[in-house]
């Protein structure tokens, strides 16, 4: 993570003798570095609009924090973590999260796979679904912290003066003809006018999904007014697919390696 060789224009320092790799040399380098990174092949991600959404932006903040710590070799960069987190909301400036970042071997963010928000009949509750693909987590990595992050804008004018109850559920079992069985993870009261990132601890759920992938049926969130009326996440101001890229919901997990991997010889 060291960029000390770059000058102000982010170009390689002229003291390096620069030689272009030949085709086979480039292939050899790629193979070896992919092997070091533990990847079977070169990833081919799909980026919407060629821009970064909220998850890569959040992860880039984490990367910059870690890299500056590696470069400066200063312990106890609590102030840097806190200053970084103010861009994402004051709730993130927790001692525990700083400790997780410091101890983690790996951090992963996961995109929500559910395309459309669910709008139900008046007889059933509005809810928003989230599903995350955890199948690419390497073996031997133990989850030490995990959060669902949602961005809330100011709610619409109909409920602006109300307090809202936002509940996060783990889907335990799905049914074709009725609502899924749910397990309540957390309920939180919010001001309708409140804005900013909301983080929900889903460590136990994430551990379950990693250990038993067949239990990974996703999450649901539901919002009610103080009078008990179910409202859609959009009414509550929760940003979904049609919202800004930098405010998209995502899941983030911190990992610690629990076993040693031996790199196989080529």
């Amino acid at each position: 993570g060291s960029n000390y060789l770059f000058d102000g224009n982010n170009e390689v320092h002229p003291s390096f003798i620069h030689r272009r790799l030949r085709t086979h040399e480039k292939r050899e380098m790629q193979k070896e570095i992919l092997s070091i990174l533990g990847l079977p092949h070169r990833p081919r991600p799909h980026l919407s609009h060629g821009k970064y959404n909220s998850a890569p932006l959040f992860m880039l903040d984490l990367y910059n924090t870690i890299s500056s710590e590696e470069k400066n070799e200063v312990e106890g960069m609590l102030e840097q973590y806190q200053s970084m987190y103010t861009t994402q909301g004051p709730r993130l400036a927790k001692h525990q999260e700083n400790a997780f970042l410091n101890d983690a071997d790996m951090v992963m963010s996961f995109v929500n796979l559910v395309e459309y928000d669910r709008e139900l009949s008046p007889h059933r509750m509005h809810h928003k679904e989230f599903k995350f693909n955890l199948s690419q987590i390497p073996e031997g990595e133990a989850v030490t912290a995990s959060e669902l992050r949602l961005y809330k804008e100011c709610a619409n004018q109909v409920v602006i003066n109300e307090t809202l109850l936002l509940s996060v559920y783990q889907v335990v079992q799905e049914h074709p003809n009725r609502e899924a069985d749910l397990f309540l993870l957390e309920s939180r009261r919010l001001w309708a006018a409140e804005e900013g990132w909301l983080e929900f601890d889903i460590l136990a759920t994430s551990n379950l999904w990693v250990m038993s992938p067949h239990y990974n049926l996703g999450l649901q969130i539901r919002v009610e007014t103080s009078s008990g009326r179910s409202i859609s996440s959009k009414e509550a101001g929760l940003v979904g697919r049609d919202g800004g890229l930098e405010k998209q919901p995502f899941m983030v997990a911190f990992f610690k390696v629990s076993e040693v991997h031996i790199r196989t010889a080529r």
């Binding site: 993570g1 060291s2 960029n3 000390y4 060789l5 982010n10 390689v12 003291s15 390096f16 003798i17 272009r20 790799l21 480039k26 380098m29 790629q30 570095i33 070091i36 990174l37 070169r42 990833p43 081919r44 991600p45 799909h46 980026l47 970064y52 998850a55 890569p56 992860m59 880039l60 984490l62 990367y63 910059n64 870690i66 890299s67 590696e70 071997d105 790996m106 951090v107 992963m108 963010s109 996961f110 995109v111 693909n133 690419q136």
Partner: protein, 138 residues
Amino acid sequence: STNKRNKNRNRATQPQEGGSRGPSPADYNSSDHNTACRRHELYVSFRELGWQDWIIAPEGYAANYCGGECVFPLNAHMNATNHAIVQTLVHLMNPENVPKPCCAATKLHAISVLYFDDNSNVILKKYKNMVVRACGCH
């Protein structure tokens, strides 16, 4: 960066009184800094490998490498172990059987890499022993 070796160094041994083998330590000057074991610069560019679409950061990193000779006298800047100091002397006395110590990394640092996977999830991972910070004679 270049690393010109002194090819004209005279290593011929002379028979000594008292039965000692090989040239005496006094025959050697202090090690030339340019040929001595030290860290050299080497930059690995992910951009040059055409990976900028999936590696978010860094664009590359300074891996560096160790190179140079570990010969008597091992100066302080060579970060030699005590054993290496002894081995250089033994090599002087018995070069056919005892090699010179090796110039290798004594301090390695990790780098963090931020990248996308095939599902567009983002991974931030620390990889150990990627950067040579210091070299020494072992």
